[in-house]
């Protein structure tokens, strides 16, 4: 039974290698979502459901047409609608005449992840499953690292497209490496690959903008119209603190000496929203404070239309921005988002950041001169 899952940015590579570790080679790797995927998805979706529902449904229909009949999706219960997606999608797909079975993972409970993975694996025992899961989360660290390097180098490269080429090579390397010791070594190899093979403009003084928001929108380039590429082309270094590792990186979560990014951000966000409201609301608000302290220039907050937790964040962001003096741009994304409008807003935001930086420099110069 060929297995498939929603397209999820560079996490696609993690999922593929995870299933390979579990002995599943009968995968239908989802195509990158296109305009047609959006159309397919929104044709059969409820009217005002959030956009990830439509996109994942579209991807599933395309994958089912290509021969898949086992679908992997999040399940369980939580604040957000995401866990209930599969139930509705199942009924929609049944009505459309597809015959498929579902694998649903409650990704917040480690026990459930391991149980489900064991049940879909080809003859893995519990220990082997845990080992495969470990390889999954370590590889996720690598894909995050690659993404981070790509978003940095692409902004300052001299030859257009060279860093993207290296990133693709790195992803291939991540998927093909199987041994744990070799995977660990990649953590050093990948930065070296970028440093050696990408020529950078050393005089450039790029702005730094952090992108955060709802996890699916932030990590899926088809949905956020590849905002990282757009910002990089404007000469801005970007980064995203949002990652799935928050749920699956048990190694780092158990490490008492290391705090994960989201935990630090959360400690700043609690001031504005004291209790969890689901999604990444607290972390996103905290990021504005955290990255201001780190010296970043601005923040772009992305969320899908009608997303419940992020609307709370969006309503509080003006206050955070005012108090910390961090420019914040909130962007709603859905299937109707026009590229031109999106680009114009980003350009205006970057222009604003640039003029703000110049002003700051001028102030500092006059301060030094007066001393």
């Amino acid at each position: 039974m060929p297995l498939t899952f929603p397209h999820f940015g560079s996490l696609k590579y993690v999922f593929v290698s995870l299933f390979h570790e579990l002995g599943r080679y009968d995968l239908v790797i989802p195509n990158k979502p296109s305009k047609k995927t959006f159309q397919l998805g929104s044709r059969y979706s409820p009217e005002f459901v959030c956009t990830p529902f439509k996109l994942t449904l579209g991807t599933f229909i395309e994958s089912l047409d290509r021969g898949a009949d086992e679908l992997g999706m999040g399940g369980g219960h939580g604040y957000c609608r995401f866990r209930f997606y599969w139930q509705v999608q199942k009924i929609i797909l049944e009505d459309l005449g597809y015959d498929c079975s579902w694998i649903r993972i409650d990704y917040e409970s480690t026990r459930d992840i391991i149980q489900v993975m064991k049940s879909i694996s080809v003859g893995c025992n519990t220990l082997q499953t845990i080992r495969a899961f470990q390889i999954g989360w370590v590889k996720n660290r690598l894909t995050d690292l690659t993404d981070q390097l790509l978003f940095k180098y692409r902004a300052i490269e001299t030859e257009k497209g060279s860093s993207k080429r290296i990133a693709d090579e790195a992803f291939k390397l991540i998927v093909s490496t199987r041994k744990m010791s070799k995977i660990r070594k990649l953590q050093k190899t990948i930065p070296k690959m970028f440093a050696e093979n990408v020529e950078v403009d050393k005089k450039a003084n790029p702005l730094k903008v952090v992108v955060n928001g709802e996890i699916y929108v932030v990590l899926e380039p088809a949905l956020n119209l590849d905002i990282y590429k757009r910002l990089n082309e404007l000469g801005v270094i970007t980064k995203t603190p949002v990652t799935l590792r928050r749920f699956i990186d048990i190694g780092q979560r158990l490490n008492p000496f290391k705090k994960m990014d989201f935990q630090i951000a959360n400690s700043y966000g609690v001031k504005y929203v004291p209790y969890r409201v689901g999604g990444e609301t607290q972390e996103n608000l905290g990021d504005a404070v955290l990255y201001k302290k780190k010296g970043w220039n601005g923040l772009v907050h992305l969320y899908p239309f009608t997303c419940m937790p992020e609307i709370i964040a969006r309503s509080i962001f003006p206050q955070v921005s005012r108090e910390t003096d961090m420019p914040v741009l909130s962007l709603v994304v859905d299937e109707h988002t026009g590229e031109a409008g999106f680009q114009t807003r980003l350009e205006a935001f970057v222009d604003l950041l640039e003029s703000k930086r110049e002003e700051m420099l001028k102030k500092r110069k006059t301060k030094i001169a007066s001393h």
């Binding site: 979706s45 409820p46 009217e47 005002f48 459901v49 959030c50 399940g75 369980g76 219960h77 939580g78 604040y79 957000c80 609608r81 866990r83 209930f84 997606y85 599969w86 139930q87 509705v88 199942k90 009924i91 929609i92 009505d95 649903r104 504005y272 929203v273 004291p274 209790y275 969890r276 409201v277 689901g278 999604g279 609301t281 239309f305 009608t306 419940m308 937790p309 609307i311 709370i312 969006r314 309503s315 509080i316 003006p318 206050q319 709603v332």
Partner: protein
């Protein structure tokens, strides 16, 4: 001087009205509940509320504006859930923070937090939160405990009165009794039975729901609402779904629709949805698909938002009721002929 506490007449006020009012009156506070929603409130709300919030949350902003100069405290609880897995709406938990952030000049907010599903709060935690709220008004803990007991008792009694038992439901389904007292002018007509399904804060807000309850009654229909349904029926219906529907307020809505689609018992179902309500979008789709498979009970889904025009909705409701009446009459004439043959 006793302190004034303001409660906006929106969202979960409709669920816990008696409990809150009894509690604060027992503590010796003056309870100021904002008046019913009016056109004016809506206009204020739409102007100041965040664009992407759902219609009902927007309305709350209007009520807050109405109250803010009249009271010393505003009561906007962060109600998460009271079930092990089921959640309320995440917006209700963040509401107090959003209000404080948007309008810094508001009176003091009283925002206790209670969330069993994600924080594992126990009865003791609930008690602690109650004490925290109570100490704002009085220094006597025994008075707070007494007020809490009375409030919980009042809430229980109110629920008992509201939620009908199975026997009454079956009698109503067989048209033996009426749940509402019909208006005088249509007493002799054959009454239709309609299930009116939607969030408590939509059905009971006569302005937001375009006074649909009264309208249906004046067309000669007896209405049962989703909040009146026995809980065990709803749980029984929702167990048929493979994933537990974990939205506490949505459960009664989808459960009611599924029950009536399966068992008949009503002539039609009207589902009031709120635009951009998260759970409604999924439950509405499910209801829609279930209704398409079971075509003997007609389902009308109306999506309400701040642009809803009353005339258009009225026409649709009238047309729906006419259709139901026509169906019923056709049915009535058909059944005898079937028996003869």
């Amino acid at each position: 001087m006793s302190k004034k506490v303001g409660i906006p007449r929106a969202l979960i006020y409709y669920k816990f009205a008696t409990m809150w009012e009894t509690f604060f009156t027992q503590l010796g506070a003056i309870v100021v509940v904002s008046p019913e929603t009016t056109k004016n409130v809506r206009e204020v709300a739409i102007e100041i509320a965040p664009d992407e919030d759902c219609y009902s949350t927007k309305i709350l902003h209007g009520h807050i504006m109405d109250l803010k100069d009249k009271v010393d405290y505003l009561f906007v609880p962060r109600f998460g859930s009271k079930h092990k897995t089921d959640m309320g709406c995440p917006k209700f938990i963040g509401l107090a923070d959003v209000l404080r952030s948007l309008y810094p000049d508001l009176p003091k907010l009283i925002a206790p937090h209670y969330n069993v599903a994600k924080y594992g709060h126990t009865k003791f935690d609930f008690f602690k939160e109650v004490l925290k709220v109570g100490f704002v008004f009085t220094k006597n803990p025994f008075r707070i405990i007494k007020a809490m007991r009375k409030a919980l008792k009042a809430d229980k009694e109110n629920k008992k009165k509201l939620i009908i038992d199975m026997e009454t439901l079956h009698l109503w389904e067989q048209s033996a009794i009426l749940l509402n007292i019909p208006p005088d002018e249509i007493k002799d007509e054959k009454t239709l039975k309609i299930a009116l399904v939607g969030h408590t804060y939509v059905i009971n807000d006569s302005f937001c729901s375009l006074d649909i309850r009264k309208k249906l009654q004046s067309y000669g229909a007896d209405v049962i609402t989703s909040e009146q349904m026995p809980r065990e029926l709803i749980d029984e219906q929702l167990d048929k779904l493979e994933n537990r529907l974990y939205f506490e307020f949505e459960r009664e809505i989808l459960g009611t629709i599924m029950y009536f689609l399966e068992n008949g018992g009503v002539d039609g179902i009207i589902h009031l949805m709120i635009f951009s309500c998260g759970p409604d979008s999924l439950a509405g789709e499910l209801a829609n698909r279930f209704a398409l498979k079971k075509q003997d009970i007609p389902l009308l889904q109306l999506v309400l938002d701040d642009l809803t025009a009353e005339a258009g909705m009225k026409t649709r409701i009238e047309a729906f009721v006419d259709m139901l009446r026509w169906r019923k009459e056709k049915h009535a004439t058909h059944i005898p002929t079937l028996r003869v043959s």
